[in-house]
Symmetry: C3
Subunit: 202 residues, 3 copies
């Protein structure tokens, strides 16, 4: 139950980040909602397509869809107030990312995916929404060149997979994976960690 | 039978809009055909992936694929003549959009999707081709920021789902949904309706 | 066995082209790896989604994923040396493209897809990685407007489908399709073949 509420919090945080980008791009109200909804539930939809879950859970579930849509509408109307909440949104987004990475890996394992596939599918669930967001608004995905975002997601998924292989129950694995991914992400934001770029010799 | 012919008309109208964008971007003949074909049958492919219909109908069906390819080739060779048919293409496109929204919702219901999922999948079938078109040619999807396009599609799908829930036969639902979506879209074009953008305080 | 090794060579060549594009765009090390891995195994993932193979082979297979990741890392660290191997990479890429087109068509036929669908799915497996690469780094896909790339892929897939329909064994069909696609691609590179663009009357 707590996990379910946290998942909705994650969807809301993702949707808020998508809708804010839509506002920045001056899309109309529907465009803001589409980008927000895709960012909120897109990662879960891609995860379900990869795992043969039809139709994807988030498309058929009112709480998930409603959370993403409601958050996008809130952002559209209140974005100037929300811009002061930027820090809080980043924290929620980190928690959401950690949750998607861990639950994605657990769901993949439950559907019989191999350890490698489960780790990659968990990572995809966590970062898919952000990639869809940036492709839709015609930007090079942020997480490809600026943010340390996907490494924490993959490490969280990997921890879930490894602890399941070692026989831990799904709940312990979920909590450990979520904590690892979210804390690493918050540390990266706080300490301004970033990855090296290629050495270009002009 | 009439519905099937109208579906091919819709595919042709979508493919024509995709191929015209390709011509504007000065792609070569193959690029124009790829963008045209994707725009024509892309929405149906995404719908079938979401519904677990493998391989997607449009990939395995000569009439659908041939219509999309033939239309794209026609546009490539005759685009200067066709640019005078812009108005007619917009009308056909509105009818195609309405048909895809309604048939998508009916097919989703038949495959056991929930009412919410059926409505969203119908909307996706109607707008998916246009989004793929704009992502491929590296534009922010038109329907996110200028056109009133997706709201009529979603309303058409929703009408189909609601009337099916109320016990109407699929044919009546199909006709009502298609008419609603297409007429709204044509009214939006004719009256130049558009949605409000976010109020940006500089 | 030889075919399997050649498939890994194809994945490596695709991944190298993706990672090189990532380096050119000055992505960080993770971004270069994501673009490289997507380019290397993306075509196969899309093929498996279209054919209902879950989870996609390349996501669950260490050799495929490891080859793509390892090649991307090599490119990241050694890209200045590799830029002198541009010609060799293009040859390997042509062989990989031919192999993906042929194996994609054979796998589709084995999964009961119609001849048309098998031909299109083989072509998609061969060009999907390159399209994902260019969409991720925010370019109009190269193969839509400059390179003669997809026509050889589709002809290779078509040859596989036709020879299977005529009763040849899968091995002969695979070799013939791969050879046709790869040789056409190399000829196109060598003779600088390109397709006509639309005649624009200003």
């Amino acid at each position: 139950m707590l996990l379910y509420i946290l998942e909705l919090v994650g969807i809301a945080a993702f949707a808020a980040s998508g809708a804010l980008v839509g506002v920045t791009k001056r899309l109309d109200i529907f465009g803001v909602c589409v980008v927000g909804v895709f960012t909120g539930i897109g990662g879960g939809i891609v995860r379900d397509l990869l795992l043969d879950i039809h139709p994807p859970t988030s498309l058929g579930s009112w709480p998930n869809f409603g959370t993403a849509l409601g958050t996008s509408l809130l952002v559209f109307f209140l974005h100037s107030a929300l811009s002061r909440l930027r820090r809080e949104i980043l924290v929620l987004d980190a928690v959401g990312m950690g949750l998607f990475a861990s639950t994605g890996a657990v769901i993949a394992l439950e559907h019989g995916a191999s350890p490698l596939a489960s780790c990659l599918i968990g990572g995809t669930a966590a970062i898919g929404g952000g990639i869809l967001r940036d492709v839709l608004v015609n930007e090079v995905p942020l997480l490809l060149h600026r943010d340390l975002y996907a490494i924490p997601a993959l490490l969280g998924s990997a921890l879930v997979v490894v602890s399941s292989e070692l026989g831990s129950g799904p709940n312990a694995a979920l909590i450990a994976g979520t904590a690892l991914a979210s804390v690493l992400r918050l540390l990266a934001l706080w300490r301004k960690w970033s990855l090296p770029g290629p050495r270009i010799v002009e």
